[in-house]
Structures are given as structure tokens and as C-alpha cells.
């Protein structure tokens, strides 16, 4: 899925969070959004996945303005893994993933054998098939996040939006989670806090500060000691190895 954002501005309670932003994302790229807290990463993603309204500019999915698309249409194009996943009511893991089929279902249409297969495949992909009869709330943080990823996969979209998906996960699960996302062969847009994770997995990175794009490009292009200082006010040293970069923070 192609995503084009033109001159986007988002104002929340009279404060401009995103200002005149332009982003062009090519299909099947894994695109990272980095930036300090309050830089507008989440706001940007929430605007793309339509939880927040925008004031100016336009967002196009495959050349189509999202303002003329129904929520159901966009839900068939992009799936979201976010952090707000604590549940008051406790679903079965299987039912939780099955809900991912909702956008494809017409009024009165029952779940079909295909849906069950899709759910099994999605659970298989995140390596959680053995947990399908468990209660969602009985899972650990990493397991919950993988179930939400499976639900997003069951949506069968061409784009996946990850809103700081690996927060609260330990390193093993962070890698596991990003590996799954990387191997999907669809467009992935992810807000990422860990710069080393971003540099390892992203094809392209947008660095955001105060609602504006400071720099964009491939990880090797954009990561410099200066950029990291500009964004986070942290001293660092960058080591290049096998074409990948590693960021060491001071004091080191």
C-alpha cells in the first residue's frame, strides 16, 4: 500500500501538534518514525489510522483521499497494533483474533471456514497457536502484544501500523516482534523509541521533532551524532558494522 501525506497539520486543543508535514511511503517498505516524547509520533499515526481528525492537508491511500473512504474501507487497507490493550472484559485468545475479521464481514454474515483458517494462520505466524483457548488477560505483556499483532494480521491488510509496539517488551520479544513485522512483506509504519531497533529493521526513517520532520532517509543516511543530539539532547557515538549502525550512548 502506498501512503502519501501532503501538508498535514493537526491541532489538538488549539495546540499545533503536527505542522505542515509531508511523507511519501512506498509499498512494502518498513518505515520508522522516531523522535522524542511529545514530538508528535503517536499523533501522526493516530491521524493516519483515523482516531484523530486533521485540520489541514490530505492523506492518500493508494492515491485515494481517506476523507472519502469509510472506516471499513480503511480498515481493509491498514491494521493497527497500539498500546491501549488492557481489557475490562476478558475474551478468549481465539475470539480476540477472530474480531480482526470484522471489517470483512457484511451485516448478518457468519464466520466461515476461511475465517477460522485465517485466524489459525495468524496465530501460527506469531507463534501463539497453542494459546488459542487461553483467556487474553491471563497472558504476559509480550504474549498479549503478539495476540494483538495476530488480530491485525487476521485483518489481511496491505499495511500495518505499529504505534510503539515494543514498549514493555523485553529484548527477546522486541526482536521477535520486529522480525515478524519485517517478514510480512507488506508496508509497515512504526513509531519506535529504540534507535538501534529502528536502525536494524527500517528501510526508511523519519525523524520528528515538534511536529515537523527534521530529517528522513535510510538508517545509514540519517543517523549521526548530531541528529541524535538535536532530537534527544543525548551525546552518542555511532559505530558502523557490516553496513548496519550501532548507537552507543554517552557516558560509554
Amino acid at each position: 500500500m502506498d501512503l502519501n501525506i501532503k501538508n498535514l497539520s493537526v491541532t489538538i486543543e488549539e495546540k499545533k501538534i503536527i505542522e505542515n508535514l509531508n511523507i511519501d511511503i512506498e509499498a512494502k517498505n518498513l518505515v520508522g518514525i522516531i523522535g522524542p516524547n511529545g514530538s508528535g509520533k503517536s499523533t501522526l499515526l493516530k491521524t493516519i489510522y483515523r482516531v484523530l481528525k486533521y485540520n489541514e492537508g490530505s492523506i492518500y491511500i493508494n492515491g485515494k483521499d481517506i476523507k472519502v473512504m469509510s472506516l471499513r474501507e480503511t480498515a481493509k487497507e491498514m491494521a493497527v497494533v497500539a498500546q491501549h490493550n488492557e481489557q475490562e472484559f476478558d475474551f478468549n485468545v481465539y475470539d480476540m483474533v477472530l474480531i480482526g475479521r470484522s471489517p470483512h464481514k457484511k451485516f448478518l454474515e457468519r464466520d466461515s471456514r476461511d475465517d477460522y483458517e485465517i485466524v489459525d494462520e495468524a496465530l501460527e505466524k506469531v507463534d501463539m497457536l497453542a494459546y488459542k483457548e487461553r483467556k487474553y488477560n491471563s497472558l504476559s505483556g509480550g504474549e498479549k502484544q503478539r495476540i494483538i499483532l495476530a488480530r491485525a494480521l487476521a485483518q489481511q491488510t496491505n499495511c500495518l501500523i505499529l504505534d510503539e509496539p515494543t514498549n514493555h517488551l523485553d529484548i527477546k520479544y522486541q526482536f521477535q516482534f520486529m522480525n515478524i513485522a519485517k517478514n510480512l512483506d507488506i508496508t509497515v509504519i512504526a513509531a519506535i523509541h529504540d534507535l538501534n531497533i529502528a536502525s536494524l529493521y527500517c528501510d526508511e526513517i523519519y525523524a520528528l521533532k515538534d511536529g515537523k520532520i527534521v530529517k528522513s532517509g535510510s538508517p545509514t543516511d540519517i543517523f549521526t551524532e548530531k541528529l541524535i543530539y538535536d532530537l534527544y539532547e543525548v551525546e552518542s557515538r555511532i559505530i558502523k558494522e557490516d553496513g548496519k549502525i550501532n548507537i552507543l550512548y554517552k557516558p560509554y
Binding site: L71, E86, F89, F91, D95
Partner: protein, 348 residues
């Protein structure tokens, strides 16, 4: 799939049990009636089958004009309150919600208080108290929905808070009227009415209530996907292609209609709309594909037998059904809660 098989078996068993309960329950009362007479009367009157010349006319009248309407009223109200209980819990995303959460019971009792104490609506016919209660209930529900939409779209929390606020106002005014009126008989009537009774059953109110309850239960059964999304919240629902706002409004109006008519026919029967959804969730989980029908059937059966108790436990008079629902329902619930390690649909 195995899970669906279990659901289908439970549903079929409950439907059979409901049919059986309808026939059996009619036998109980101040005068016991044999099952074969009940069966013959129902078959003849409803489907024009068989011969009832050997059955005494007085028996036919008791079955057809008194007991059957009463059983059907219990069926309708048990189903209506249990289903709206689930709907309300999903709409406000809170497992403590019940059908009366939007101030419906306070609104209804305010209407009833006006009717009983001040004679408002006497010209509306014999069930003017019920009509006044219905109007009170419906107005409060609409008021709560409107209030929760002020300053942006309504959310679960705003609905809950608006419900509480409107409810307090309605109760305060009811109490003020009761306090100023100084009418001991009136107070007794209101108290009795607040505990609920199915004694007012007649074919006239069955004809209104049964279609409303059945149609709205069927309607909500088709809405299971939206209801499941409601439990996940607005943001997740948006990413799954659903704007919950208009559905919430629609469901609230349908629920208010259900509860309003239940109140009109039988006063306020508490607790059933809270407890049946939870009992059902203990057994089949929280998926609305299963909970709606099963709650409806369970609620019907439960209320039918509570009403049998209400009219037989103390010969010559009736115990208010609301009392029995709580006395028997609550310990059952506590037992299930302990034995199944239930977390009210939520986290441990």
C-alpha cells in the same frame, strides 16, 4: 467447531427447558391444575387443536386468562431485562451496569410517584401508574443520552456519569413528593410497586411486550460483532472499521424501549439484568454471538420460576418478585463466582 457445538447444545436445551417451564409453571398457584388440562387448553386456544370439552370452563379461564399471560409476561420481562443488561454493560463498558443504569428505575419511580401520590395521568386508564412509569423511564433515558452528548460525543464514562446524575435528581424529586404528600397508603403502594410484580399480566400487555422483546433480542443477536467491538473500546473499533457512536445511540433507544415497557407491565424488578449476564458469561464466555440468546433464555426461565415461587410461597397472597429474585439469585451468583473463579468478565 467444538466451541460452537457447545453453544448450540446449550441453546437447544434451554429452549426445551423454557417450553417445559411454560407448561409446568401454569400448574402452580392457589389452585393446582393438572398438566394434561394445561396442555389441552394451550393447544386448543392457540393452535385450535384437540378437544377441551372435558376440561372445566373455570380451569380453562384460569389457564388462558390468568396464568398463561402471567407466565408469558415473566418470559418476556426475564428475557428483556437480561438482554438489555448485557447491552448496557457493553455500551458503558462496565460489568456493573444493569438495565436501569441510565436512571431508568429512578425515572420510572418518579413517574409512578407522580401517578400514585398526585394522581397524574388517572385519565389514562387502569394501568395509569404503569404508563406514567413508562413515560418517566423513557424521558430519563433520552435525557441521559442527550446530556452525555453535550460538549462532544458521548463516551462510556460520560453516559455512566450522566445516568447517575439524572438518577439522583429523579430520586430526589420522588422523595420530595413522598415527603410532602404525607400519604401512608401511597408510600406503601410505591414501595410495593418498586419491588415489582407480575400480577398485572394480561393479554393486552403481552401483545405489546412480547413483540418488542423478541424483535429487539433478535436484533441484538445480529449485532454481535459491533457489541464485541464495544468491549474493546472506541479506538480499537475505529481501527477495525467501526464507528461505535451511532450504534451506541441506536442500542440505547432500543434498550430504553424494552426497559420502559417492562417497567410499565411489572414495575422495577431489580438484579436480574445484572446477574443473568454474569451467570451466562461464567458458562459460555463473553462473546456476544453466544451470550445474547443464552441470557435471554436463562432470564426467561429464571423469572418464570421466581414468579411461581412469588405466588405459591405464601398461600393467599403474593411475595414481591423483586425480593425473591435477589434472595435466590444472589447466593446462586456467589456460589458460581466462587466455584468457577469468575472475575466479572475482567482481569484477575
Amino acid at each position: 467447531m467444538i466451541r460452537d457445538k457447545k453453544y448450540i447444545i446449550i441453546s437447544v436445551l434451554l429452549i426445551a427447558l423454557l417450553m417445559l417451564s411454560i407448561v409446568l409453571s401454569i400448574g402452580f398457584g392457589s389452585m393446582d391444575i393438572p398438566i394434561k388440562d394445561i396442555y389441552a387448553t394451550i393447544m386448543n386456544k392457540m393452535f385450535n387443536l384437540g378437544d377441551i370439552s372435558r376440561v372445566k370452563q373455570s380451569t380453562i379461564d384460569i389457564v388462558w386468562l390468568i396464568r398463561l399471560p402471567r407466565t408469558l409476561l415473566a418470559l418476556a420481562i426475564g428475557m428483556g431485562l437480561s438482554v438489555t443488561g448485557i447491552i448496557m454493560q457493553s455500551i458503558v463498558k462496565n460489568s456493573l451496569a444493569d438495565p436501569y443504569i441510565l436512571g431508568v428505575s429512578s425515572g420510572a419511580s418518579f413517574g409512578a410517584t407522580l401517578a400514585i401520590m398526585l394522581g397524574v395521568g388517572v385519565s389514562l386508564g387502569s394501568n395509569y401508574i404503569g404508563i406514567a412509569a413508562f413515560i418517566g423511564a423513557f424521558i430519563t433515558s433520552i435525557l441521559v443520552i442527550l446530556l452525555s452528548n453535550i460538549g462532544g460525543r458521548s463516551s462510556s464514562t460520560k453516559l455512566l456519569l450522566a445516568g447517575m446524575a439524572v438518577s439522583s435528581i429523579a430520586s430526589a424529586f420522588s422523595n420530595l413528593i413522598i415527603y410532602l404528600a404525607d400519604n401512608k397508603d401511597g408510600i406503601r403502594t410505591i414501595t410495593y410497586w418498586m419491588m415489582g410484580s407480575l400480577a398485572g399480566a394480561s393479554w393486552d400487555n403481552i401483545k405489546i411486550l412480547i413483540p418488542i422483546v423478541f424483535l429487539s433480542t433478535l436484533f441484538f443477536m445480529t449485532q454481535y460483532r459491533v457489541l464485541n467491538l464495544m468491549l474493546l473500546g472506541d479506538e480499537t473499533a475505529t481501527t477495525l472499521g467501526m464507528d461505535l457512536y451511532k450504534y451506541r445511540l441506536l442500542y440505547l433507544v432500543v434498550a430504553a424501549l424494552n426497559v420502559g415497557f417492562a417497567v410499565y407491565a411489572a414495575g422495577v424488578i431489580g438484579f436480574i439484568g445484572l446477574i443473568i449476564p454474569h451467570i451466562v458469561r461464567i458458562v459460555v464466555g463473553i462473546d456476544h454471538k453466544k451470550t445474547i440468546l443464552i441470557s435471554g433464555l436463562t432470564g426467561s426461565i429464571f423469572l418464570i420460576w421466581m414468579d411461581v415461587l412469588a405466588r405459591t410461597i405464601k398461600p393467599g397472597s403474593e411475595v414481591p418478585i423483586g425480593i425473591l429474585v435477589s434472595i435466590i439469585g444472589a447466593p446462586t451468583f456467589i456460589y458460581l463466582m466462587i466455584s468457577k473463579n469468575y472475575n466479572f468478565g475482567g482481569t484477575k
